[in-house]
Symmetry: C2
């Protein structure tokens, strides 16, 4: 397929707006007499509120209202940003209220102050008198499941949110008959998204409806959840998403929106803004689940993988959020990569008194691939075989059908990705070079593979709307419910519309703000779904527009529709390649013909019932300082099989960001809590060691483009994918360099130093 | 036809927002670092700019930019807010530039200052040095047509913009054979709209597009005209219309929008606001054309009207604007009322050095009906017959086809309107009572009829779009390109959608802000078109939504679609009247069914190729102070035939406002100019005698509801209609009271006093 716009390095459509500072984010909007909301947060990890007195706070001049759980509807709701399901069993766990009478983690929401400015609000928070009954708490999920552990939610006496497993084949028999059985324990830590823009929203009322302007990835879902949290008809809520400063899944949670809605309701519809501080964001939004995996794998003497048995424990923190779904994502999405004969996963998602874990880029998959790809290297090492050969010996092939999800792998680029990555990093040459190192600084190579899905089908509904209206100059307005959250979605959709209609990209004007009052329905940005799912809607709407244009051109010229085409904004006669007229002439005709006036528009919705499995591989080269435990990544190459790449430079950007996130998880990031109190120890960007540009190695992004037949333009997912494999690749490179298997990340200098001592290297 | 929502006194959908001050008008929006634009206006009625020096103004601290005609594209454009026409001959007269090198009236736009605040901008205006060559000027249109008159636009050496006439029958023969021939001269003055909110707009750039937020009646047309004025592709301009504080036709002119667009372009896309002062608004927006009519009428001895010959002179001021179209409106819309055997109109629309006249509520029709209805009373008086009988003897009947426009009158309520009005004002009883008055205060009765159109068909294209999207709770979003400008359109459209779908009005959420980027295409609020034209689109879209709902209900229940209905938001089985389910269940199914998910939406456009003639009559009772010339209107009754009334209380509001406007024109309002300089004498609300609540008589609004078969719900126009007949009714009542025929309005105390002296009454 040859494209004119797809696959080109088109400049971001929001580039000028963003670099000139004109792009408006939630905090850039002003409302007359806007009030400020602030939230009183629990200092205790687990405590019952015996009494709460807000009289002094209310009496402070400038305070307009103070709210506690008593003032709000006692409705339990779920914050997870999933599409609603008609099946009640398929809905998220509704286990929280906007404000609580029982704190379940340090930072839980106790009371709200609404005041005329931030300083007064802060002062008023300190005047709220809360009498807590402090309860025993638990931070470790394995301890939380023990009998006698503190009960965090009354309806889950064992603190287990979900323990639904999956299996196929006969694991027990395959282990019985196995030539080798390997086991390993792997563990990841609590990390966080650290989007530049903290959660922020403001709300006001318009007649009898609540309008919320919010930094959200999922305006249509946020609308539903706010209505649910407040017991309102969904249509009474309107959510507007301006430009947003990063989300990474944390804004696929509906956290501040119900709060600001409750605030404006409490003050007769006056506008109220609530913007989290960074400190709050760390403990009162979501984190990535710390997970522990017990892996057991059967291998034949031909080095063929047979059975895999995974026990997984996911530390969900205080509220369910996406928990049950994330562990299912992990145990599902890793499957269509290696040919296991049998498989059994026994996951447990467990409440603890930590801040809630939820959706974060990769959605459980980075954790399971850290475990799996570390495990595979550990096995290869034990079998004394090359880890790449071991993998190549076990990968699936295109045509593979997952026994549980029934998804078919239509394109499988792993062999090509590995080949490319191996060459680029000079695997063989350097393996030779780094043999038998003994110095203070030792180098090594590692790699890791991954698989990921494009969207959530068949688990969730994948519906996307697209509306296109042609302007009189032949340019079009492109309206979507899908959201630009910094990833470049708007540019990619613009390219798709331009391609399918046949006009230059600068004739596509995409509406970047999603306003649920007018935007088509789409569930939003998550699960790396938009390019794949919404892309299908864009193509369908664009084709409809093109059809209408050509029908008018046919009416005007007498030529048959099939003999006409639109190329670069011109109507041409196919074959002869003869110019008929500019598209604007057709558009004017559509608007203003006295008899046939009917502006060219299309309004479509697609229900995508396919999934395209995307793949990739990371190659890492590291240098380990054997004395200090410092690990330096010298080189990190990601090679992705994401089908057709719509915009190479944006794709590269996605890879750079995702790799950096994974390197952070591998090497430095960890949100720490005081075991004596459950209080966060580093909930700020000084002490939480996010990767900076100074920490970032030379990252390379490469693509193996195998167009997937289910992608509207051959595309598969890419958004989350780069966060998956770098961490295990680095871990395997460290193993290669030092012989030491790090089974828990981050491998920060302290943990490396301790491990080296344990291993007798120091 | 029995309706559940149509015809009910539904509360305005914007009531709460407006009375609580939450409704946002253009000036309620803030942009960071918004600059202020101001316009330097000509002090001369006619002058060539020999030289202009902006150096000192530019040097003032806080001034960002100063623009003159040299800095802007030399593109002539037309400000009239008409739909574009594919036929170049049918387009408006493009005779102006944003800034001019030749002032054609006092107040013409010479230069623009953009500064960081208003005070600096004002100061800078004074620093601009203009060297004018002052030219002779002309204010009177008859003088302007004389040889040797100053030439205002080079391409119109006789200053005539347009003199296209119309005729049918044989006027000459009918006059030759006439029993009686009557002549009369009638004249109206320059008046103005005086909307509370002056013209205001601001603009900024988003990437490479210009965004304009403006108080406009016609966002989609404004977009086109801005693009034309600046030579841009139309799609590069986006116009947003918030709530607006009155327009009355003056915001059917695109005046400030090209200015703010030019301003933001000049400062790299920074936001710039330009808000006119009241003083500017009077001279730099539009006025109502002062018109002079020479009427000549042939009547049989049976008092049957035969021929009418009208010569009309319309004082258009300095730029063409709507001029040619307004005089055509006048001579067309008055026709389908009385049975003339022959008709000839010879209009002349003439440039003078007054501020430009343009669209104003009634669009030429109040002027011609002042002439015609005065003329008819003058004839009745001369024939010594009752003016009502005279009219009733000559009115058309339903079925009448206009010989020129070919429009068919389908419903004709004049006889019923007259009957009702006559009873209500106690015509016969009071006629008796007021015979032979001789005192200082004399009372009289008068009446006048009118006809008006619903929209502009067949002169212009009448296209309207409507989009409806159902929310998950069964409520709907109603999106239109038609504009709420204070008249209550949003409420009326809401009722229509609710009626046609079968849901309560509070389940219809109308989008009140038109944003050309997302709103369906509709030309906007003018020509009393929206209820009639856009109403057709709303009905069509609503029916489509209902169809989709019932199809899903049919799928769920197995019942046939034709056995299902929606009543008050419930799905019922027709006949049995059995409740099936709430509409929200169907909506949820539409959104979330795993197989059939497809949100319920409709996106329609109608091209309405009918017109419905609306009618009405005014009855006035006045008391004239014979010594001071003061005229007091004691009672004013308007009875309208506007087909089905969608919302009686809003309809009544329209009538009250329109009557007040007409009374102002009759009694007090006149924008005056110094004949020696062309400068305005009373361009402020203190000296311009707008009617206030203290001047307002007891106004009654009544309706004769004859559903018109071409109206989606039987409706015809109403918006402009009430402004037409009160003035001649009052004039005729004064004639009745005093025997004095006032042939020029306003009849303010000064002119009445002078006329009484002239007539020897004083």
């Amino acid at each position: 397929m040859s494209y004119r716009v797809i696959g080109k390095e088109v400049k971001r459509v929001d580039a000028v707006n963003k670099v000139t500072g004109k792009a408006k984010f939630t905090d850039d909007f002003f409302e007359r007499d806007m009030l400020i909301g602030k939230v009183l947060r629990s200092p205790y990890a687990h405590a019952k509120i015996k009494n709460i007195n807000v009289d002094k706070a209310k009496a402070l001049e400038g305070v307009v209202e103070v709210l506690t759980y008593k003032d709000l509807p006692n409705i339990k709701y779920a914050t997870a940003g999933h599409p609603y399901s008609l099946d009640p069993k398929h809905r998220d766990v509704a286990d929280r209220t906007i404000l609580t009478d029982k704190a379940r983690h340090v930072g839980d929401s106790i009371a709200i102050v609404i005041a005329k400015d931030e300083l007064i609000a802060e002062k008023a928070l300190k005047l709220i008198e809360v009498d807590y009954e402090v309860l025993p708490f638990v931070l470790d999920p394995e301890k939380a499941m023990e009998p006698g552990a503190p009960i965090i939610h009354d309806d889950r006496p064992n603190n287990v949110i979900s323990s639904v497993g999956q299996e196929f084949g006969n694991v027990d028999e395959d282990f019985k008959n196995a030539d080798y059985v390997f086991t390993g324990e792997y563990e990841t830590s609590v990390v966080q998204h650290c989007h530049l823009e903290n959660h922020t929203a403001y709300a006001y009322m318009e007649n009898d409806r609540i309008v919320i302007v919010s930094s959200t990835q999922i305006p249509h879902i946020a609308r539903r959840i706010v209505a649910e949290a407040l017991g309102l008809p969904w249509g009474k809520v309107r959510v507007i998403k301006p430009y947003i400063g990063g989300g990474f899944g944390n804004k696929q949670e509906v956290i501040v929106e119900p709060m600001v809605a409750a605030m404006t309701l409490a003050v007769n519809g006056r506008p109220v803004r609530y913007t989290m501080t960074r400190e709050e964001s760390f403990i009162a939004t979501r984190t990535r689940h710390a997970m522990k995996f017990y892996m057991k794998t059967a291998v034949t003497k031909d080095h063929k993988l047979q059975a895999i048995h995974i026990k997984a424990i996911s530390n969900n923190g205080a509220y369910a959020s996406h928990g049950h779904s994330i562990i299912m994502s992990a145990i599902s999405k890793f499957r269509p990569l290696y040919n296991f004969k049998s498989f059994k996963a026994e996951p447990k998602t467990v409440y603890t008194n930590l801040p809630s874990a939820g959706a974060m880029r990769g959605y459980g998959v980075p954790q399971i691939f850290f475990a799996l790809e570390s495990h595979l290297d550990d096995i290869a090492k034990k079998l004394n075989i090359d880890p790449i050969e071991f993998r190549m010996n076990n990968v699936i092939q295109a045509g593979h059908v997952d026994p549980i999800s029934k998804l078919t792998v239509r394109t499988f680029g792993i062999p090509e990705c590995i080949k490319k990555g191996k060459e680029l990093i000079k695997w063989d040459e350097k393996q030779e070079l780094y043999k038998n190192q003994t110095g203070e600084k030792r180098r090594g190579l590692g790699m890791a593979c991954f698989s990921y899905f494009s969207g959530t089908y068949p688990v969730c509904l994948e519906v996307a709307g697209c509306r296109i209206a042609m302007n009189q100059d032949g340019s079009v307005q492109l309206m979507l419910g899908a959201t630009e959250i910094g990833q470049g979605a708007d540019t990619v959709f613009t390219q798709m519309a331009a391609e399918a209609i046949g006009i230059p990209v600068d004739m596509v004007h995409i509406i970047s703000t999603q306003d649920t009052d007018v935007a088509p329905f789409d569930t939003g940005a998550y699960a790396s779904r938009q390019t794949y799912i919404t892309g299908a809607a864009v193509k369908q709407a664009a084709i409809e527009v093109k059809k209408q244009v050509l029908e008018i051109a046919s009416r005007k010229t007498g030529l048959k529709v099939e003999n006409l085409d639109i190329v670069d904004g011109k109507i041409i006669e196919v074959g002869l390649n003869r110019l008929i007229c500019d598209i604007s002439e057709i558009a004017l005709e559509a608007f203003y013909d006295r008899i046939d006036s009917k502006p060219i528009t299309s309004d479509t919705s697609v229900n995508v019932r396919t999934n395209a499995i995307a793949y990739g591989v990371s190659f890492a080269e590291v240098e380990v300082d054997m004395l200090t435990g410092q690990i330096e990544v010298l080189h990190l190459i990601n090679v992705h099989d994401s089908g057709t790449i719509i915009n190479p430079i944006l794709a590269e950007g996605q890879v750079h960001g995702g790799v950096s996130m994974s390197l952070g998880a591998a090497l430095s990031e960890r949100l720490m809590f005081d075991e004596r109190t459950g209080a966060p120890l580093n909930n700020n960007l000084l002490d939480y060691k996010l990767q900076t540009i100074m920490d970032t190695p030379n990252i390379e992004a490469h693509f193996v483009e195998l167009p997937d037949p289910t992608g509207a333009f051959g595309q598969k997912s890419l958004g989350e994918n780069p966060t998956i494999s770098p961490a295990p690749a680095v871990r395997n490179a460290v193993l290669d360099a030092t012989g030491v298997a790090f089974n828990k990340i981050p491998m920060n200098p302290q943990s490396v130093f301790e491990k080296f001592k344990e291993e007798g290297l120091l």
